[in-house]
């Protein structure tokens, strides 16, 4: 059961926990004996998750070391600020190409193909990736090979040698993705709903086109590398290593770099969608993909704990309102859920998703809208709040139940500039939320009149039609993939 709003949610933390939250008294028939409530729940075994060592170099680069000797592997990564949000619009897709061609090109000493041979013979990996707000280089190997693999990774970090052939290969792969992006209904819905929320030209939604990826050159890749490697790098290593030696290796590699550039201030404004009903026709499906979307918030917002509880009630798990109504009671969907999103550094989206057979599109949309309106029309109950708290707090330790998760959480908080005790603070805030605060938060943040409704589905099968929603005209969305003109004869020669 996927919950789109929570999928990038923090996964690790710090605190020693021994919580045994009492089960909420459920308002059920007296005839139920509830034998499960008689089963003792002892205190949780004491647990103090091991924290990584944080080392800040004098140039501002931060190292995290997390020992874990359970298995004979060492893994690491360098997180580099700057991603596709920051690329030139005319070359949208540059960072994706950079992430691929960096590794496949290899270094001046060792080309990518030779690097592949060398690493795979050791069952080791070095990979690079381009993301929305960062790029990264990561490595992993058996302990015995870890010195050599780290040396290769550092060589790739500092001495990449972008090759035109490998850039071309990456462009072909990207082109395959572009021409296939309308094949899958799910992908269309996710992409187009985000474009409704942020606008089609926003850094958060603009998409690579055949024309924009075609403009990217090896010079662009070099320029991107030179520009981002002077930002605040976060280096993290986990696994079966000796910490003093690892610290010395990393200091030797990173300490001599110049002081990191301060992160530029972002000045962004987010208007949210133009309310209305939007439609994408897809003739080869028998199920509609319905997305009801609006603007969400970011994690700096102190109301996030309240919104997280509201989300659990609306669309979190099996006992959520959307699930109970649309799936269990009506049998209209297998996949249904959603909530008010919060990202680390920008407003995420409010997003409710329902997949239902074409003929029930209007009914399912209406039911989902009613559940959204219900968040503000009626107060929540103590039973709902208590259940949402139990759901979130009793599973909270799964955010830090492995050393890798704890390490990843520290890296994430460092990257987005959150305090290291963020999860503790967040958990404490969740525990304190009252019913009045929850009700107030829903009224403050849920505005059904500001939402857009997107349907991807098979027009002739959608009966009654979307005009039966009585929410104004239905706006068709054009998802045609722009195809560059074939080159003229003269251009084709060279």
């Amino acid at each position: 059961m996927k919950n789109p709003t929570l999928k990038n949610f923090a996964k690790a933390s710090l605190l020693a926990v021994a919580c045994a939250v009492a089960l909420a008294p459920a308002a059920l028939s007296a005839q139920q004996s509830k034998p499960w409530e008689k089963i003792p729940i002892p205190a949780l075994h004491a647990f103090k998750p091991q924290q990584p060592t944080r080392i800040e170099l004098k140039n501002g680069i931060v190292l995290f070391l997390q020992e874990d000797h359970e298995l004979p592997f060492v893994s690491g990564s360098v997180l580099i600020p700057g991603g596709s949000h920051d690329e030139d619009t005319a070359k949208t897709g540059l960072v994706e190409l950079y992430g691929q061609a960096w590794r496949t090109s290899g270094t001046a000493k060792l080309n990518g193909d030779t690097l592949d041979d060398l690493l795979e013979a050791k069952a080791a990996h070095i990979e690079t990736a381009g993301g929305e707000d960062s790029t990264s280089l990561s490595w992993e190997s058996l302990k015995g090979d870890s010195d050599q693999v780290l040396a290769l990774a550092l060589d790739l970090l500092f001495h990449p040698s972008y090759s035109p052939q490998k850039l071309r290969l990456a462009q072909q792969q990207a082109a395959a993705g572009i021409v296939r992006r309308n094949d899958d209904e799910d992908e269309i819905a996710e992409r187009e709903s985000a474009r409704l929320v942020y606008g089609p030209d926003s850094p958060y939604t603009r998409q690579p086109e055949l024309a924009t990826i075609g403009k990217v050159t090896v010079d662009d890749l070099n320029a991107w590398h030179d520009r981002t490697l002077t930002d605040k790098l976060i280096v993290s290593v986990g696994g079966d290593f000796e910490p003093a030696a690892m610290e010395a290796r990393l200091r030797a590699a990173f300490e001599s770099l110049p002081p990191v550039k301060p992160a530029p201030e972002r000045h962004e404004s987010f208007a949210g969608p133009t309310p209305g009903v939007y439609f994408v026709n897809k003739e080869d499906v028998n199920q509609s993909n319905i997305e009801i979307v609006g603007l969400g918030t970011d994690r700096h917002n102190p109301d996030v704990p309240k919104l997280a509880l509201m989300n659990d009630i609306l669309g979190g798990g099996f006992s959520s309102r959307l699930m109970q109504k649309i799936r269990t009671e009506k049998g209209l969907a297998y996949e249904v859920g959603g909530g008010y999103g919060f990202a680390y550094d920008h407003p995420a989206a409010f997003r409710v998703v329902v997949l239902t057979q074409s003929a029930f599109t209007v009914e399912a949309t209406g039911l989902a809208l009613a559940e959204i309106r219900g968040l503000t029309a009626e107060d929540f109950t103590e039973v709902e709040l208590s259940r949402a708290k139990d759901n979130i707090l009793n599973s909270f330790l799964f955010r830090y139940d492995t050393r890798q998760k704890v390490l990843a959480e520290h890296v994430r908080l460092e990257f987005y500039g959150y305090p290291a005790d963020y999860l503790e603070t967040y958990k404490a805030a969740l525990e304190k939320v009252t019913l009045a605060e929850l009700n107030a938060a829903a009224k403050k943040y849920i505005h059904p009149d500001k939402l857009a409704i997107l349907v991807v589905g098979n027009s002739p099968e959608i009966k009654p039609g979307l005009d039966e929603l009585k929410l104004g005209p239905v706006h068709p969305v054009d998802i045609t993939i722009p195809m560059p003109k074939p080159p003229a004869e003269t251009e084709r020669k060279q």
């Binding site: 496949t104 069952a123 792969q173 003739e283 199920q287 139990d390 330790l397 492995t402």
Partner: protein, 515 residues
């Protein structure tokens, strides 16, 4: 709650998965260390419990592995095992109901009303539309009456309120698996919940859930080009064995499954001898085993169900499927291979590794890097299952402007090379090294380990085979690979299927008015 086989290729056309749980094992974290922390007990009812102590954090994961899946669905009832799996989330005589005694009577009336409706619906001659509508009303009334006793989703609610994460299940063709993770102090609560649903399930809200499962089919298969392609591909490759049948169920059949049929399936297959429960995490076997034994002894004893008699006959004619639709092209082909118990099982893994694993693999280097005709290509096996003879498959995603025929030719060229010349020493050594390393990588994850231990305990009768299989991997020779390639990859043993792009039926249009 997913149908595993149909979901394998769901998520993206380009991220091609060929992960198989039966991946041959590797060396040691090692076997000895696992023997010290792993305890197995077969209960008097035949149910096997495996506990693996891994006290890294105060949590545990479990996997309940039923040796029955959609391959066991009776004729005319495809999708039944998956349908039952959904039922197992609906509660028991004690949880999910306000008054089971009264609910039981109401549910019997639902079943009778459904039988009456179905009898009329299936009439080929003399079906009376008015009577049918009337029977449908009566069925709905009976459902509404039964619904009065339901506390919806109470089973999952209790699990989630107690910190369960990853609450789900998967039905494959070969088997069904239930799983989640929880804080360790809920072990006894979990044992109550899990043993209750295995022993004491109630066919509650069955016909609503059947609608949900049909939505699942629409999502995974009907509305997904790769789902459609693979359903047709496998249906063409098999003429006799149930591997050729839709796992999630053909629409006409899954829409007619009854609660009675689901409960019959449960009675036959959810017996102790057919179930392994594995628990991994912060659990002490010495204290936990007696407690688990108390709860899981409630599962009915019963003989291990008889294996099916059908064996897929030898294919003697090449078969092809061409789908023409708006989707971008994709190519797949498959060759019948033996089941997982075959002495050459590790040889098939070696072939997959050499063909497909990473940027050093032969198919990547040939079709992606050098010829530049494919975005992705790989060979993998077995599919769609491993318990019975499956297929060795290839899947290729052409670059824009390239065709399925080019994928076929490119793959066949690599197959011919494998048949004509030995692989290199480096390739063979790489397969063995990577297999060992991948086994090790899987050992530090409670849920992954629980799934694997339960599967190996079922498939080999001994979880140790996870480690012991490494000996078979080590014995694979270059000659083995050539021999198997020459037997397997022959045209008369091949089924291929592809999508060719057809022009759109009509231009973009509005769904504004009812059309």
């Amino acid at each position: 709650m997913q149908s595993r086989n149909s979901s394998w290729f769901l998520n993206s056309a380009v991220a091609l998965l060929a992960v198989s749980l039966t991946w041959a094992g590797a060396q040691a974290q090692d076997l000895k260390s696992f023997e010290q922390k792993t305890t197995v007990k077969v209960l008097p009812n035949g149910l096997t419990i495996v506990i693996c102590e891994r006290p890294e954090a105060p949590v545990f994961s479990y996997a309940t592995f039923i040796d029955a899946g959609d391959v066991n669905d009776p004729a005319g009832e495809s999708g039944l095992a998956h349908m039952f799996e959904h039922l197992a989330f609906k509660g028991t005589t004690q949880i999910g109901t306000t008054d089971y005694a009264a609910e039981k009577i109401a549910l019997a009336r639902v079943e009778a009303a459904n039988d009456a409706y179905e009898a009329e619906y299936l009439k080929q001659v003399g079906r009376d539309p008015k009577k049918l509508a009337d029977l449908k009303e009566k069925l709905k009334a009976a459902q509404d009456e039964a619904h009065k006793f339901v506390i919806p989703n109470q089973f999952t609610e209790v699990a989630e309120k107690n910190g369960a994460v990853g609450v789900n299940a998967e039905t494959g063709l070969d088997d069904t698996m239930y799983f989640w993770s929880m804080p360790e102090n809920r072990l006894e609560l979990w044992a109550w919940l899990e043993s209750s649903r295995l022993a004491d399930v109630v066919p509650r809200e069955f016909y609503k859930e059947r609608d949900v499962v049909q939505e699942e089919r629409r999502m995974r298969t009907d509305s997904n080009p790769i789902g459609r392609l693979f359903e047709q591909f496998v249906a063409t490759a098999y003429v006799a064995h149930n591997y050729g049948r839709s796992g999630v169920g053909w629409p006409s059949e899954v829409s007619q499954i009854t609660a009675t049929e689901a409960m019959d399936f449960h009675k036959k297959y959810y017996v102790g001898a057919n179930i392994v429960v594995a628990v991994v995490g912060d659990v002490h076997a010495a204290t936990a085993m007696p407690m688990l034994e108390k709860y899981f002894s409630r599962v009915p004893a019963g003989p291990k169900p008889q294996e099916m008699t059908t064996v897929e006959p030898k294919q003697f004619a090449e078969k092809t499927v061409a789908i023409r639709e708006q989707t971008q092209p994709i190519y797949v082909e498959g060759y019948h291979r033996p089941d997982y118990r075959d002495p050459d099982d590790a040889v098939y893994d070696a072939i997959s590794d050499i063909f497909s694993n990473g940027r050093v693999s032969r198919l990547y280097r040939s079709l992606v890097r050098d010829q530049q005709i494919a975005a992705e290509v790989e060979g993998f096996s077995p599919y769609p299952g491993d318990k019975y003879p499956g297929l060795y498959c290839f899947l290729a995603v052409p670059l824009p402007g390239h065709t399925p025929a080019e994928m076929r030719d490119g793959i066949h060229k690599e197959i011919d090379k494998l048949k004509a010349a030995d692989v290199t020493d480096e390739e063979l050594a790489m397969f063995k090294t990577r297999t060992r390393a991948d086994l090790l990588r899987g050992l530090a994850d409670n849920q992954g380990l629980a799934n694997t231990l339960a599967e190996y305990q079922t498939r080999y009768g001994d979880w140790r085979e996870l480690f012991l299989q490494l000996a078979k991997v080590d014995k694979v020779t270059k000659a083995d690979i050539r021999r198997v390639a020459n037997t397997l990859f022959v045209a008369t043993n091949r089924t291929s299927a592809w999508i060719e792009t057809a022009p759109p039926i009509a231009d973009q249009k509005s769904a504004g008015g009812a059309q």
